[in-house]
């Protein structure tokens, strides 16, 4: 077992993990944070995307042991994040989800897109979303929601990238 300390959604978590345990399994099975979904477990679908030290991260391609000393945010921890609140409203208004399986990864990726691109256009959003797979919506409404959220964003008020 390996001892780890993680700042998880702003709360210090100290635990012992098996070295082979992925960050995704640690979040879901050890911490009960089930917003992080597992689709493919090899980096292709994006459902498991979380934020590690400010960087969008595949939690299926990170070991819990490697997250030692890092700050990890999952969708649960971004409930009151201003950018996430804006995105949630636009996902709702644009009807950007059906079954919702891909939605946590979509929202975290959408937030990352808006932190790196001011008012992204349709083409940019589509390119940036190419690592997020949705089997239901056909993507049109997801793209619409993210573009609309970007339009709503006052130019200078994008949330800091390390939130």
């Amino acid at each position: 077992m390996t001892a780890i300390t993680v700042a998880l959604n702003g709360v210090k978590v100290v635990d012992d993990v098996e070295p082979r345990q992925s960050l995704a399994d640690f979040l879901r099975d050890r911490c009960g944070l089930t917003a992080t979904h597992l689709g493919c477990e090899h980096g292709a679908c994006g459902a498991c995307t979380v934020v590690v030290d400010g960087l969008a991260t595949r939690s299926c391609l990170t070991l819990a042991a490697m997250a030692d000393g890092r700050a990890v945010s999952t969708l649960e921890g971004l409930r009151d994040d201003p950018l996430m609140t804006l995105l949630r409203r636009h996902f709702h208004e644009s009807h950007a989800l059906q079954c919702g399986f891909c939605t946590p990864g979509m929202l975290i990726t959408a937030r990352d897109i808006l932190q790196r691109h001011t008012r992204p256009d349709d083409k940019t959003v589509r390119h940036e979303l190419s690592g997020q797979i949705c089997r239901c919506t056909g993507y049109a409404n997801i793209v619409k929601a993210i573009v609309a959220a970007g339009q709503d964003l006052p130019q200078a008020s994008a949330a800091p990238p390390d939130a």
Binding site: R20, E41, T57
Partner: protein, 277 residues
């Protein structure tokens, strides 16, 4: 999709890591970004006893530039290069290549050193660093070696690395005149591994050209006849096609008619982009 059990350590220095990797009687692996190794462990195509985490070794993170060359530490991530956080005296070629690899969340962790160490036939950095004539600095139990990437990668997923070896980084010679380049990729989906990668460079307006084709065989190859033809002022597309056909036959085995057309079209696209600069 769960990895088999293994032991995990995070050494404090390159020397310590090298010793751990050489542990007698154990199958070991270094982990940098984990973006290739973790799926391989999960699929159990790689089975190890000991995982040595080198991802926090500062000695592998240095990035420096002199008038003669650029040094890129092996832990430099694709995202850092994409975002222009490393010097790019290659007219933006490295940024362009970095930004097309996989997806942002993978680029945030995947490293240039991991990509070269793995030597996936369809990976982007091997093509780019061969085109830029880079060398790789390897530290191991038998000392330091500095092979050219083109010699370091000798087959599909095969390099001259031996147990205990660690890639420190890459030395890339600075072009003496501005580099013109073209980069073209054929992939089923943006971010997926490519079926064809073409990188074409030329030194200044009429200097020598380099053409590298990847994903067409076990390892990327220099297309020498094509490069020679490309350096001829006013070479026509027909002449280029003939040179590409010669190079494809000389460097790659078993390409079918479709693959030949695809690689030809892809190289021509890269060449057109370069000639437009």
């Amino acid at each position: 999709m769960k990895a088999a059990p293994f032991e995990y350590i995070r050494p404090k220095s390159v020397a310590e890591a090298s010793v751990a990797l050489g542990r007698r009687g154990a199958t070991t692996a270094a982990i940098a970004g984990g973006q290739s190794l973790i799926p391989m462990l999960s699929l159990r195509v790689a089975l190890i006893d000991l995982l040595v985490d080198i991802s926090r070794l500062d000695d592998l993170k240095a990035v420096t530039a002199t008038p003669d060359s650029t040094w890129i530490g092996s832990l430099t991530t694709h995202s850092q290069i994409e975002d222009g956080k490393t010097p790019d005296v290659f007219g933006g070629l490295m940024r362009r290549v970095a930004g097309q690899i996989s997806y942002r969340a993978v680029r945030n962790h995947g490293t240039i050193g991991g990509s070269i160490a793995l030597a996936d036939p369809a990976a982007d950095w091997p093509c780019c660093l061969i085109a830029l004539d880079a060398t790789v600095r390897v530290v191991g139990r038998s000392g330091v070696t500095v092979p050219r990437i083109a010699d370091f990668i000798h087959d599909s997923y095969a390099t001259t690395l031996t147990t205990g070896d660690i890639i420190m980084g890459f030395d890339i010679p600075a072009p003496k005149v501005p580099l013109r380049w073209g980069f073209a990729k054929v992939a089923r989906k943006s971010g997926a591994f490519a079926h064809s990668i073409a990188i074409v460079t030329a030194l200044g307006k009429d200097g020598p050209a380099t053409v590298v084709l990847g994903a067409a065989g076990p390892r990327p190859r220099q297309m020498v006849a094509t490069a020679t033809q490309l350096a001829v002022a006013g070479a026509t597309e027909e002449q280029l096609r003939a040179a590409i056909a010669t190079d494809l036959d000389a460097n790659f085995e078993g390409l079918d008619a479709y693959q030949k057309r695809m690689h030809t079209a892809n190289i021509l696209r890269a060449a057109r982009d370069m000639r437009a600069q």
